[in-house]
Amino acid sequence: MQRALLAGLAMALLAGYYGPFVVQRGLSFLGSGLAHAAFGGVALGLLLGVEPLWVAFPFTAGVALGITWVQGRTHIRGDTAVGIFFAFSMALGILFLSLKREYTAEAFTYLFGSILAVSPADLWASSVLLALTALTLPLWGRWAYATFDRELAAADRVPVILDDYLLAVLVALVVVVAIKLVGLLLVAAFLVIPAAAARQWSRTFSGMVVGAVIVGGLSVVAGLMASYSYNLPSGAAVVLLQALIFTVSALFMRRI
């Protein structure tokens, strides 16, 4: 439980930090797409008999780069690019699992998430990602600037294309780290719902980030405790709480 709580708080911090970028850039579907892409990586790991997350990291990061490239290079909208990679990776995942002859119950852990499945290696992965994120803190201002207005930022020499790739890869890594805890079906909620709830009462973008981290943190602690006490699926408990916070925010907070 303690391990799950630590992993959950790390997740709330990471998803709360990146979520506002995802939401304000209109990339809410990206979280879902990357989670399903991670399934391809997890399945490949299971097939090869290696730790699935170590395969899912490069696999999902690769898909994130692919989505960003397709968005920048072709005349299709971002959600279409996500949709293509989403389906492609899921198809690969299903194919990989079918190639593995014996029944793979472990795959379900990744689909739905489990507190018990969080290993010390997962905590290490979260810590490394937190450290990586801390290293990118000086880039927050230019990322936020480009999120506000990409053209203004580009005119001021912000390397917007490079930053698109960097953000996409970091979001992909967050998604992979979160999968064990929340499950890939619900992981996108971590990126989207706390940020969307915080938007209801934030007057500034930095305030929205702080709000998203707080909403994420509260929902993780309360959700995991409920999950532990009543034997509920952890991911579902956390996400339902997030949805509740969003609903209350949307109903009772004056949108600013």
């Binding site: 304000q24 927050w140 201002g141 230019r142 990322w143 936020a144 600037y145 999120t147 506000f148 207005d149 053209e151 203004l152 580009a154 005119a155 001021d156 020499r157 912000v158 938007r199 934030s202 007057r203 500034t204 973008f205 930095s206 305030g207 929205m208 600013i256």
Partner: protein, 259 residues
């Protein structure tokens, strides 16, 4: 005047500029040079390449052929602090949570502020008050009217004291009083700093009355020079296929009643 002095007096130099996007020819063989301190209005029909020209000068679009110099350097080498850009305010993402002063400070820092330092806030306050938008301090931009946004964007451009201000249809969507105010603010800024202004507009009359130079564009350069010459009936007809309401204006051009 020697060559160096001559170059120093030119703010923007465009030589045989051609821009192609795939099969689409956006600009063809455009050449012009804008002296320091000019107020240039860029007019032309939709799809004439006006915004493309501005984007080339901002370093956002790479020319297919030709050469462009801003203060003697390629656009992407110019110190961004020397250039202020006022985009069309209708492109603003109103879902983004931002205060007026944050938008202005982003112009100062060229980055989005996490926290605003006291001196940055003071700089934002001074420039917002100057453009008649002091009352917008502490308010979120998502609820601003077109005129209010336009003032905040002007403040954002002015705050870095640029030598060149580029504006993309700044009067679209604001009322006549707001438009008159905007031209007064631009002219005041220019008087004070000697800056060069480049403005895309659909308003020939405003171009005639406020600009020192007019560029008439329709992918190719149709006319460039003082408004009386560039906005001639021949140029307008060539660019737009008609002279529309401006026919009446153009008849009065000879009257020498420029503001």
């Amino acid at each position: 005047m020697n060559a160096a002095e001559s170059t120093a007096r030119i703010a923007v130099e465009v030589k045989e500029l051609t821009v192609r996007f795939g099969d689409h020819l956006a600009l063809e063989n455009v050449s012009l040079s804008v002296p320091h301190g000019a107020f240039v209005a860029i007019v032309g029909p939709n799809g004439a390449g006006k915004s493309t020209l501005l984007k080339v000068l901002l370093g956002l679009v790479t020319p297919t052929a030709g050469e462009v110099r801003v203060f003697g350097s390629p656009p992407n080498r110019v110190d961004p602090q020397k250039v202020g850009y006022v985009p069309q305010f209708k492109t603003l993402d109103r879902t983004f949570p931002a205060l007026a002063e944050e938008l202005v400070v982003s112009g100062l820092r060229r980055s989005w502020p996490v926290r605003i330092a006291k001196e940055e806030y003071e700089a934002a306050r001074r420039v917002l008050e100057r453009v008649g938008a002091g009352h917008l301090l502490g308010r979120t931009v998502s609820r601003f009217s077109g005129g209010e946004l336009q003032r905040v964007y002007l403040a954002r451009a002015f705050v870095r004291r640029p030598d060149l201000v580029m504006l993309d249809e700044p009067a679209t969507g604001i009322d006549m009083l707001g438009e008159a105010d905007m031209y007064r603010l631009l002219e005041d800024y220019q008087k004070e700093t000697g800056a060069t202004l480049l403005m895309i507009t659909h308003d020939w009359e405003a171009a005639y009355h406020h600009a020192t130079h007019v560029v008439v564009l329709n992918r190719r350069l149709v006319g460039f020079g003082p408004p009386e010459r560039a906005l001639s009936e021949r140029c307008l007809r060539e660019a737009f296929g008609h002279v529309g309401h401006a026919h009446g204006i153009s008849l009065s051009f000879g009257g020498g009643d420029r503001a």
